[in-house]
């Protein structure tokens, strides 16, 4: 098992590298001279040339990329063109906030979405199940930024229960953003869990379990659940990416000082290092969550575990 994890970690590196390359290449095309932004009023031909040499901006593309990645592995994300402070500093300040919102959303989705999905899969033709299906359909179509606005209208403006922006009120300020961000995600998880459970319940081995006299609740919990988890786990893992995409919107709606808003500001100000830094960190998160999905897979399905030498050899 350990070998498996290490192997996957190593496999992750070229992927992250490749993503960094892609992002770097795209940002290469940003028009304009960075020295204009950095030097501002102090711009002159000479100063510009000197700065370019310093920052290595006059080097060919691949050399620049090489420098960038070597710096990256040391934790050096470069210098922001605007603040002239290390990008890493800003990321350290902002990223935890993003993580909190994302974690909140995931908790909400898995904690609420999975049980509802399981229950409506087991009680397939009930009113509850149909209701879940409808809510699920509506949920995946609801634009999260609109939902955020509506939630603010209801809970902050009208009811005055929850804050509408910032993270100053601690836990309370996380509730609305997590709800908004997690809505699509939860609806999706609900649907997938439900349909997966429906599939599994129809299987022959469930009938065998019942024929053995296994109690109804145990049939679901001990037999059906493990087998139905694969698609759900896939969705939970894959959608981390969607969550990170959505967090940009959520932070904008709720004015949360996180990586998402940093990214938008940096794009507007043509602050390429910061943009790169945000994107790279997000890509790393996604790669890590993919890895976790694979690990959990191996845990849940003994056939996969065996493939990676996890069982008794």
């Amino acid at each position: 098992m350990f070998k498996f994890v290490v192997k996957r970690l190593i496999a992750m590196i070229p992927v992250v590298l490749a993503v960094t390359f892609v992002v770097f290449t795209i940002m290469w095309f940003v028009p304009g001279d960075p020295t204009n932004i950095i030097l501002g009023n102090e711009w002159s031909e000479a100063a510009s040339a000197k700065l370019k040499a310093e920052l290595g901006l006059d080097q060919p593309f691949l050399v620049q990329f090489f420098h960038y990645t070597t710096n990256l592995v040391q934790g050096n994300f470069g210098m922001s063109y605007i603040t002239r402070a290390p990008v890493a500093e800003q990321l350290m300040a902002r990223f935890p906030n993003t993580l909190m919102v994302v974690a909140g959303a995931m908790l909400f989705c898995v904690g609420v979405g999975v049980p509802i999905g399981v229950y409506s899969g087991v009680r397939a033709y009930s009113l509850f199940s149909n209701f879940t299906m409808v809510v699920g359909l509506l949920g995946i179509s609801f634009p999260i930024f609109w939902l955020g606005l509506l939630l603010i209208l209801l809970f902050s403006v009208y009811l005055r229960w929850l804050p509408s922006s910032g993270l100053d009120d601690g836990f309370a300020s996380l509730i609305l953003p997590s709800l908004a961000l997690g809505s699509n995600y939860m609806a999706n998880i609900m649907r997938i869990t439900r349909s997966s459970m429906l599939e599994v319940i129809r299987q022959d081995y469930i009938r065998t379990a019942k024929a053995k006299g296994v109690k109804a609740r145990d049939v679901v919990v001990k037999h059906a659940l493990q087998n139905s988890m694969m698609p759900t786990i896939t969705v939970i893992g894959m959608d981390v990416g969607t969550l990170l995409g959505g967090v940009v919107l959520t932070e904008t709606v709720f004015s949360i000082p996180g990586t998402g808003r940093l990214l938008v500001e940096a794009i507007n100000k043509r602050d390429t290092p910061t943009v790169l830094g945000c994107l790279v960190i997000m890509a790393v998160c996604i790669a890590i969550s993919n890895l976790m999905v694979d690990i959990v897979y191996a845990y849940v399905d003994p056939r996969i575990k065996a493939q990676y030498g996890g069982g008794k050899d």
Partner: protein
């Protein structure tokens, strides 16, 4: 496994006038249309019929596992050792299943849970019905494995590591783990190769003789019936159209369908004769013919056959048939 004491007088299983339909928005599948079955203690009944005759559905009703919500038991009684299965509560059913009656299903490839070890799946049955510790149950499970011819060291392995024949043996081990009074075997060898078939049949036969189990053997293979069964019921379109002892059916068959079944078998002695299949196809259970369901295919069809269902006629103490041909027969004519 314990060897049970059987009350020779009691019937292990009695099914009376069972009617089960599958009802969906688009159509009604009339799977079982008035089935009567009696299995005496310690005896084996062969339930013979082609696919779609309603055999599996009848078997599932004994465990009250007919798939809901489409499957509806419209009328009839199922009495297991005198107790009505259809009126039991969920809890009572859970106690009964696996302990008093157990079932071996048709397809061994899909009837085992892929994420549990085989040892665990056998032990689960024991844990539920006998108040023993997990450790004890696992020990007994290993014994069951040996009993069905699988080395007990393999109890930690997963179903995907076994072949079809071995999976079927695991199924048998699960079914027999708590020494049920009635074993239902639903075409247990159909999905296996011929050589494995013979092995599995032999195993089932040995075990049921050793432990005095009653058995319902569902099959479409008359060879298996000859080897294993004491009595035979022939099923067609959800009805039992003929029933009798092995001798009654094999040597004195009466119903045209039964005759057709035997006629369709190749006779090794007379190599040059033609195979005589029964003309036509099994009727569509959503659209059954009027009167006797076999009449469109029957060589002896009469006008009355399309108009009314034949009544059950007892030709001897053990042999009965549902056919208009024998309406006015009495014993002396045979």
């Amino acid at each position: 496994m314990e060897i049970k004491k059987i009350n020779e007088q009691e019937n292990t299983l009695e099914i009376k006038n069972l009617v089960i339909h599958y009802i969906s928005d688009e159509e009604v599948v009339k799977a079982v249309n008035g089935v009567n079955i009696i299995i005496k203690a310690g005896k084996t009944l062969g339930l013979v019929g082609e696919t779609g005759a309603g055999k599996t559905t009848t078997a599932l009703s004994i465990l009250n596992l007919v798939p809901e919500p489409q499957g509806k038991i419209l009328s009839g009684e199922v009495l297991l050792e005198g107790r009505s299965v259809l009126s039991m509560s969920e809890h009572e059913l859970e106690v009964m299943r696996g302990d008093k009656v157990a079932m071996i299903f048709q397809d061994p490839m899909t009837s085992l849970n892929p994420v549990h070890t085989v040892g665990h799946q056998i032990a689960e049955s024991i844990e539920i019905h006998r108040k023993v510790s997990k450790h004890q149950a696992l020990k007994q499970a290993k014994e069951m494995l040996e009993l069905v011819g699988i080395p007990s060291e393999r109890s930690n392995e997963y179903p995907y590591q076994f072949s079809g024949g071995m999976k079927q043996r695991v199924d048998i081990a699960i079914a027999l783990a708590c020494s049920p009074d009635l074993l239902i075997a639903d075409e247990p060898t159909t999905a296996l190769d011929v050589t494995i078939q013979a092995q599995v049949l032999k195993l089932i036969n040995e075990l049921r003789q050793k432990y005095h189990m009653s058995m319902l053997m569902i099959t479409h293979d008359l060879g298996i019936v000859a080897e294993v069964c004491d009595e035979v019921s022939i099923a067609y379109a959800g009805r039992i159209i003929e029933h009798g002892t092995l001798e009654d059916i094999f040597d004195h068959m009466r119903h045209p369908y039964t005759k057709g079944l035997f006629g369709a078998l190749p006779d090794i002695g007379v190599r040059r004769s033609e195979l005589m299949p029964i003309k036509g196809l099994m009727p569509d259970p959503t659209n059954l013919p009027s009167g006797c369901p076999f009449h469109p295919r029957c060589d002896y069809v009469m006008e009355v056959c399309s108009q009314s269902l034949p009544e059950n006629k007892w030709l001897s103490e053990t042999h009965c048939v549902e056919c208009h041909l024998y309406k006015d027969t009495n014993e002396s004519m045979l």
